[in-house]
């Protein structure tokens, strides 16, 4: 471990460990108010765990979380790899990939609203069918909030697939995919199969860590589960939060025990995934080694089917979200839109005027928090990368630590940090929230800049030094300007992430620091469709703007230079 690694481990690890410890501690206190029927377990387990284990449906909750934690990454990865295999960098594929950036920018909660608006029994899809079949009343089916969590998984996949796609696209150029495919083609494989057999195995290790983050997120997400997840019983994460905010003191202990269970569930999901990896690797190897000597018709149809799936699934999932956003826009201006009407019958901008009159403070807070956390993350990342570049130490191993905040469920350690801040008599403040956001922003900022540093042509620096420039001059005049694309991307990515964070803002700010995201989710309980639509759109607007800037700004900066993008 270099000093930089240790430092980073401390910055990210300490709040994580302390937070988790404090969140889990109440579960082990013996001063429980809960009267339990002491069985033989009584001596082994603290009372809070007995209460937790005897809670009706707790196993169902845990299993729902586990299944969502496994199916979400599996389906998302399948969609992305099939898409990449089927398009292989052709122009249509590139165009579609560009569309995924704005979808990535849309906060999870807004995407979940959009999906619910499309697929609920009185939703847009049902209205389309109603207008064709002449229904007057909405059908009584249960898909959104279904007990198996299918809607929850679908909602998560729609958001995680674009994320994995962008990660994959960033990693692909270094792999020489066309060469590999060409080689496999000479052995008689069809293009899509060739990509899956030769590129996927080398691409997978590069997306593995982000994928682990997806596993943890999907098994512990709160906002999406609140909107799309089952309610009888809800997912473990939602129950945990319910217990955490319940007024009774014994609920706090129950919440702590549930936090431990959440940790176990998320880690189990990771463990099962690791097993799954081995099984797939075993199955894959002979498949690739066997070759495609016998060009049977079945093999060709197999490849055609895979290509079709790859071409269809990702665009379809993007289209889902974009149509959903369209529906959100309709609700935000439609005041009278009763089932089975296809479009609102009375239009008004009243929701917008009232939302806009209330959005100043939330917007100001959200922007300040985002700027503070991103500035801090940027400064720290540059400082460490520069220090490592000068001492020419490899930076690769640090990446693992950076994923730490993404590998521990947010609900678990953020609530502990709130207790820590409370003990330290730190009042809930904008700075405190920004410090919490910093933990989630840093990984993305650092990784983006690290890519830039890794690809940097150090001969420019040598050249500058021969002309007498100091290290400082080299950094400011050579390094930073040449890295402006990565700088812009890192800043915009960081801003977008900070702007859509819900749990850290809500818990660390004690609800006192309203942001666009907390306001939007507070209105979920109001259930008024047009209000929710308006705030979901407001909440999406800023992150989307950031992503757009990340795409456009480098082009403007380098508009008079060649080959810099």
């Amino acid at each position: 471990m270099t000093w930089a690694t240790r430092f980073l481990f401390f910055v990210l690890g300490a709040p994580l460990l302390l937070g988790s410890a404090l969140a889990l501690a109440p579960a082990f206190t013996q001063t429980s108010l809960v009267v339990n029927s002491t069985g033989q377990m009584g001596q082994l387990l603290p009372p809070a765990f007995l209460t937790l284990l005897s809670t009706p449906g707790i196993a169902t909750s845990a299993i729902t979380s586990l299944v969502s934690g496994l199916l979400t990454p599996a389906i998302s990865l399948a969609i992305v790899f099939l898409f990449l295999a089927a398009t292989q960098g052709n122009s249509i594929g590139n165009a579609i990939a560009k569309l995924s950036a704005p979808v990535l920018a849309i906060p999870h909660a807004a995407a979940a609203f959009a999906l619910a608006l499309l697929l609920a029994p009185s939703g847009v899809a049902s209205r389309v069918v109603a207008s064709l079949l002449g229904w007057d009343l909405p059908p009584d089916y249960l898909f959104i909030n279904d007990p198996n969590g299918l809607a929850l998984i679908l909602g998560l996949v729609l958001k995680e697939a674009p994320f994995l796609l962008l990660i994959s696209l960033a990693a692909l150029p270094s792999l020489g995919a066309p060469r590999r495919v060409a080689l496999a083609r000479t052995l008689g494989y069809k293009p899509t199969t060739a990509w899956l057999l030769t590129v996927a195995p080398v691409l997978y290790p590069l997306v593995r860590l982000p994928l682990f983050a997806v596993i943890v997120f999907a098994s512990s997400a709160v906002d999406v589960a609140l909107i799309l997840g089952p309610s009888l019983p809800p997912t473990l994460s939602v129950r945990l939060l319910e217990w955490f905010v319940a007024p009774e003191i014994e609920s706090r202990q129950l919440a702590s025990a549930a936090a431990l269970l959440q940790l176990v569930v998320s880690l189990s999901a990771l463990g099962i995934w690791l097993l799954f990896e081995r099984v797939v690797a075993r199955a894959f190897a002979p498949l690739a080694a066997r070759g495609a000597s016998r060009l049977s018709a079945r093999r060709v149809t197999y490849d055609t089917a895979l290509t079709a799936l790859g071409n269809a699934l990702l665009p379809l999932s993007l289209a889902f979200i974009l149509i959903g956003i369209g529906a959100l826009m309709l609700t935000s201006v439609g005041t009278e839109w009763r089932y089975p009407a296809l479009v609102p019958s009375v239009w008004s901008t009243q929701q917008w005027t009232s939302a806009l009159s209330e959005w100043r403070a939330p917007l100001f807070n959200a922007t300040m928090i985002a700027l503070l956390s991103v500035t801090a993350a940027l400064a720290l990342s540059l400082f460490m990368l520069e220090a490592q570049a000068r001492s020419s130490v490899s930076t690769a191993r640090i990446a693992t630590f950076l994923y730490l905040p993404l590998l521990v469920p947010q609900v678990v350690f953020i609530s502990g940090i709130a207790v820590l801040a409370e003990r330290a008599l730190l009042p809930p403040s904008l700075t405190l929230v920004a410090a919490g956001h910093f933990l989630f922003v840093l990984p993305y900022v650092y990784l983006t800049l690290q890519g830039g540093y890794a690809r940097f042509d150090t001969r420019w620096l040598m050249l500058a030094r021969t002309l007498g420039a100091s290290n400082t001059v080299c950094f400011w005049r050579i390094r930073l300007p040449l890295l402006s694309t990565q700088l812009v991307t890192a800043v915009m990515l960081g801003l977008a992430i900070s702007l859509s964070l819900y749990l850290p803002t809500q818990i660390l700010g004690a609800g006192r620091i309203p942001t666009l995201t907390t306001e939007a989710i507070a209105l979920v309980s109001s259930g008024n469709r047009s209000t929710i639509g308006t705030w979901a759109l407001l909440q999406s607007a800023l992150p989307t703007l950031c992503f757009m800037l990340a795409l456009v700004l480098p082009r403007l900066i380098w508009s008079r230079r060649k080959g810099m993008l």
Partner: protein, 432 residues
């Protein structure tokens, strides 16, 4: 950086960084040094003077846009009239404020609490009062408290059977009402028994918010009381049982409720496999014709929803024949609130005829005023009478049929039992 001037420069830079850090830390750790002095609640003039310049964090449920707008207006008035800065902290659930308060006190934060004023009643109040976390008594010293006429309306001093003893001040009044789409439903059920039969004859047309969602629990309590009265010979015995903390008699008294719920479960919307999260989702389901009968805990819910196009004009509301649950909700000041004087001033302003009237007429709040009717001006009284005639309104005669809330401990007991019976998913699975 070999030469001395560069070193001096870097030292200067370090100094600058240190100063900057100290500046930020001082902001981070800045503590409002004002030590807590006992407040003389009798001296209203001094309270008004001391309140000037204070910042009051009002923790109140933020799920109602009309109420939020009303509070925005109140905040503007508080600033211009009294120099008090009122900040509405929009809660998704009042219990989170209670949790926070408990956590703060557990951590030894006894004078810099995050909330100055909390909107609450029932179990949240009884929890805080029992834990001795509330400031008071102060409520009855407010100049405007006399206007609620608490001697004539004892519910202004009784919160779910728990005596308020000046630790909270009334703000709004609510009552359970039922409403339906008169285009789909001609003769709605007016008793618990009729409701059961109607649900079974019309499967998929009724549901209730999932307890512990406040409105869902309220319906359960309504049914609990009404069914127990039906069953028992002596209504006095029932009344006294519910006004006291829950006892072993819970099983006997709640048995008819669980039989009722078991019977209707599979005839509910989505066959009882999913419940709405809140009253507003229930309302949206009625609006979109998913269900044809719903209920709310605010007498003017239907009137104000129709005016916002959130319910069809054909929606009508009513109260059960034997009456419905009714309660008052209050505002309380935590013991560790930094701006108690400002909070008291806000509470007193909330009780003024001007604000109570505005809430009912201009802001179109769904709840009722707590002021005694004759304490409004004659013009205000006339306007309130006209309001009671609006389409979808419940008549004052119907609203007079009130049932008192059971003791808060019943709420907990019912919620727990409901979650045990239905909260774990498919009933066939049982406990795990």
């Amino acid at each position: 950086m070999g030469n001395s001037s560069a070193r001096a420069q870097s030292a200067k830079k370090t100094l600058l960084v240190a100063r900057f850090a100290i500046f930020w830390f001082s902001i981070l750790f800045s503590v409002n040094a004002s030590s807590q002095q006992p407040i003389d609640v009798d001296n209203w003039q001094k309270i008004t003077d001391d309140a000037r310049g204070q910042r009051v964090y009002f923790h109140a449920w933020g799920g109602d846009t009309e109420l939020n707008a009303h509070l925005t207006w109140i905040a503007q008035e508080m600033l211009s009239r009294f120099g008090v800065e009122l900040i509405h902290v929009k809660l998704a659930d009042t219990s989170s404020a209670v949790t926070r308060l408990i956590a703060e006190n557990a951590a030894g934060n006894v004078e810099r609490g995050s909330a100055d004023l909390i909107w609450l009643n029932g179990e949240n109040f009884s929890t805080l009062k029992r834990a001795n976390l509330l400031f008071g008594p102060w409520a009855e010293e407010q100049p405007n408290f006399a206007l609620v006429d608490a001697d004539r309306y004892p519910e202004m001093r009784q919160d779910f059977g728990v005596k308020t003893e000046g630790f909270e001040s009334p703000w709004t009044r609510s009552q359970l009402i039922f409403y339906y789409d008169s285009e789909r439903l001609i003769e709605p059920p007016r008793t618990a028994e009729a409701l059961k039969n109607w649900i079974k004859e019309n499967p998929g047309e009724f549901t209730y918010p999932r307890p512990p969602a406040f409105l869902g629990t309220t319906l359960l309590k309504q049914l609990l009381v009404e069914l127990a009265v039906n069953r028992s010979q002596s209504s006095a015995e029932v009344e006294s049982t519910f006004s006291l903390p829950v006892t072993a008699a819970f099983d006997t008294f709640s048995a008819p409720l669980w039989t009722f719920l078991d019977e209707i479960h599979s005839a509910l919307l989505r066959e009882g496999r999913h419940f709405p999260q809140s009253g507003t989702q229930l309302r949206a389901a009625l609006y979109d014709r998913e269900i044809s009968l719903a209920f709310a805990f605010s007498p003017n819910e239907v009137v104000s929803s129709i005016s916002r196009n959130e319910l069809a004009a054909s929606t009508k509301s009513y109260v059960f024949d034997s009456g419905t649950l009714s309660n008052v909700s209050f505002v309380a000041i935590p013991k560790n609130a930094p701006s108690k004087q400002g909070a008291m001033l806000v509470s007193n302003f909330l009780l003024s005829p001007e604000v109570q009237f505005r809430a009912a007429i201009n802001a179109k709040l769904a709840s009722e005023p707590v002021l005694a009717f004759d304490n409004f001006t004659p013009e205000q009284q006339a306007a309130l009478r006209v309001n009671a005639q609006a389409p979808g309104a419940v008549t004052p005669i119907e609203l007079a049929r009130k049932i008192q809330e059971p003791h808060p401990s019943w709420t907990n007991a019912i919620e727990r039992e409901w979650l045990k019976r239905y909260g774990g998913g498919a009933p066939s699975k049982g406990d795990e």
